[in-house]
Amino acid sequence: TSPVQHETFPLRGTVTLIPGDGIGPEISSAVMKIFEAAKAPIRWEERNVTAIKGPGGRWMIPPDAKESMDRSKIGLKGPLKTPIAAGHPSMNLLLRKTFDLYANVRPCVSIEGYKTPYTDVNLVTIRENTEGEYSGIEHVIVDGVVQSIKLITEDASRRIAEYAFEYARNNQRTSVTAVHKANIMRMSDGLFLRKCREVAENYKDIKFTEMYLDTVCLNMVQDPTQFDVLVMPNLYGDILSDLCAGLIGGLGVTPSGNIGANGVAIFESVHGTAPDIAGLDMANPTALLLSAVMMLRHMGLHDYGNKIQTACFDTIRDKKVLTKDLGGNSKCSEFTAEICRRIQDMA
């Protein structure tokens, strides 16, 4: 598909679009259609991301994708498949390393109309994405004894804490909670906690609390309304962000954003490629759409973001046109058309 051009109003931004694999292309085109209906001032640049071997033998993403992203600074990505035993690391990992995507942000808001046992969830998990338990440094000490190294650095902890407080301030959130296990991992989580406390000193308008990981898990499943913004190292972030996604209905409706150094931000849907329904017009574009809304807000286009989100939530709440995973039996194109119709009625 050719990039969407609008001549009637000034362009606010170019976005590098990575459709992805499986259901990726169909949900990406659904999002583009909805943006067109909303007349959002976005120019899409489609790029494909596959692992190629660069000079020196290191795996990298294609240079045209990198160039586009460096120029546009904003990306929207569909699901990428991770081939097993392909010899190269996962594409998500490559993207993360290329653009130093250090913060993974997942706002979890209950969707009215998509019923789960938990209502009124409204929290954001901010996860450090570069180090921690996922540094990939493992050794076999002797046969039968393995050690895995968890790395916590001052710089990364300070960076993620600063991002968390900035995010809280920019999005009118009232409190930030650091999640840790410093009673057991005194030095590593202690360092993380110290950095969070230091950064909190500069943000006196935001309430800062600390809570043990197990207490957060215990309270989260009993009363998720007590949480606002949560900031934590990599592993706890992985577990908690998926826990919170489960509270609102799963990965099919959860948006996600990755913030990198140098102002790069890539927003993505975190579900899989669903190869069994690819090409059958059955996919649910909600996750990618809500990530795109997150992207609009990141770019300062709050009005467009709110319009699209309202249309999406209204469609789900109405329950007349829903894709199969949401409990209905409509096609992806019908769901998309319904959202477009609502947006056009709103104008």
């Binding site: 789960t116 046992p117 938990y118 338990e133 996922y134 990939g136 493992e138 050794h139 076999v140 046969d143 039968g144 004894v145 393995v146 050690q147 895995s148 190294i149 968890k150 790395l151 916590i152 650095t153 001052e154 710089d155 840790h180 296990k181 410093a182 009673n183 057991i184 991992m185 005194r186 030095m187 590593s188 989580d189 202690g190 360092l191 906690l193 990981l213 197990d214 207490t215 898990c217 215990l218 309270n219 989260m220 499943v221 009993q222 592993l235 992985d238 577990i239 908690l240 962000s241 998926d242 826990l243 996604a245 489960g246 509270l247 799963g250 990965l251």
Partner: protein, 378 residues
């Protein structure tokens, strides 16, 4: 090398080395601390709500004429020296069994101050932490019909407390996974599943990322699973597990996992069935057993308010009675506790009720009085 001298079937060093990766078989069992028909059990009150709950356990046991005497050992968490916790450990070695409250760890102290609870578990090699989460009728929760047994490796993994700062500003924390301990906990899980008639064991891991460490754990579980053909075995990645737990927890039966994931999953399950006040926990080793509340909270904010839920600690004391084979007393007290929760519906604040701790304990004693054998007059 005590394995060599104590095991009469090993005849040579070569045979020992050949079998070293297998689970050592127990040959010598220490005798129980039972004299004149009465058991001696170590009691560590701990901090926060610990002391008041320990008091209620003693009160209830005295009322029911349970033949158990408690040897109370206090551990002062504010002291830097480890004498207190070493005394407690010695007392547990003496008696073999203990009931324990949580000892507070001030995480702002330097790393030389180790968590007292962790020290106790690793020194006594209490390798299996078992938590049985069951939905109780009469407790209002979002999910129903939950019945999950969580078996968590209790001594290694992320809790090895091995950390160092080689370069200023860069801290490394080591997570250790060994084949022996992974085989041991997997074997415990399958034996427990077989003994309780459960059909399915799920291993929780993150082997797609931690390929060597969690990969080793998973391999050990698969190896042990092959010896239990009647029990189906599968595995699940920890983040997917938490997602499944909050949407469809009924699908799980027995779950086995390393230390940190065990911490997360056991707290999630405890929250799903009604909170930290309801679920007891047990820590089993080869020679010793220590019983406590499942989620190990000190409950500092509600200490001495007479609002804490005594159920978890009292059910833990029932697990203790079962362990020392006083099954009749265990069943009697357990029946009384469950009738207070489900029939009388006298709930403390954490369950949305108005009852105080002492009222709940009194109600349990009434229930025991009306159905049980001779008790002290109230």
């Amino acid at each position: 090398m005590t394995f060599l001298t104590q095991n009469p079937t090993v005849t040579s060093l070569w045979e020992f080395l050949k079998n070293k990766d297998q689970i050592p078989q127990r040959v010598f069992t220490p005798p129980p601390a039972r004299y004149g028909g009465r058991h001696t059990v170590t009691l560590i009150p701990g901090d926060g709500i610990g002391p008041e709950l320990a008091h209620h356990v003693r009160e209830l046991f005295r009322f029911c004429c349970v033949p158990v005497d408690f040897e109370v050992v206090n551990v002062d968490s504010s002291m830097a020296s480890e004498d207190d916790i070493n005394n407690a450990i010695m007392a547990i070695r003496r008696n073999g069994v203990a009931l324990k409250g949580n000892i507070e760890t001030n995480h702002n102290l330097p790393p030389s101050y180790k968590s007292r609870n962790s020290l106790l578990r690793t020194t006594l090699d209490l390798y299996a932490n078992v938590m049985h989460c069951q939905s109780l009728p009469g407790v209002r929760t979002r999910h129903k019909n939950i019945d999950i047994m969580i078996i968590r490796e209790n001594t290694e993994g992320e809790y090895s407390s091995l950390e160092h700062e080689n370069v200023p500003g860069v801290v490394e924390c080591l997570k250790i996974i060994t084949k022996t301990k992974s085989l041991r906990i997997a074997d415990y899980a399958f034996r427990a599943a077989r003994a309780t008639g459960r059909r399915r064991v799920t291993a929780v891991h993150k082997a797609n990322i931690m390929k060597l460490a969690d990969g080793l754990f998973l391999e050990c579980c698969k190896e042990v699973a092959s010896g239990y053909p009647e029990i189906s075995f599968d595995s699940m990645i920890v983040d997917n597990t938490t997602m499944q737990l909050v949407s469809r927890p009924q699908q799980f039966d027995v779950m086995v996992m390393p230390n940190l994931y065990g911490n997360v999953v056991s707290n999630v399950c405890a929250g799903l069935v009604g909170g930290p006040g309801l679920v007891p926990g047990a820590n089993y080793g080869e020679d010793y057993a220590v019983f406590e509340t499942g989620t190990r909270n000190t409950g500092k904010s509600i200490a001495n308010h007479n609002t804490a839920n005594p159920t978890a600690m009292l059910l833990a004391s029932c697990l203790l009675l079962d362990h020392v084979k006083l099954h009749a007393y265990a069943s009697m007290i357990r029946r009384a506790i469950l009738s207070t929760i489900t029939e009388t519906r006298l709930h403390t604040a954490d369950l949305g009720g108005q009852g105080s701790t002492s009222e709940v304990v009194q109600s349990i004693m009434n229930a025991v009085q009306s159905t049980g054998p001779q008790t002290l007059s109230i």
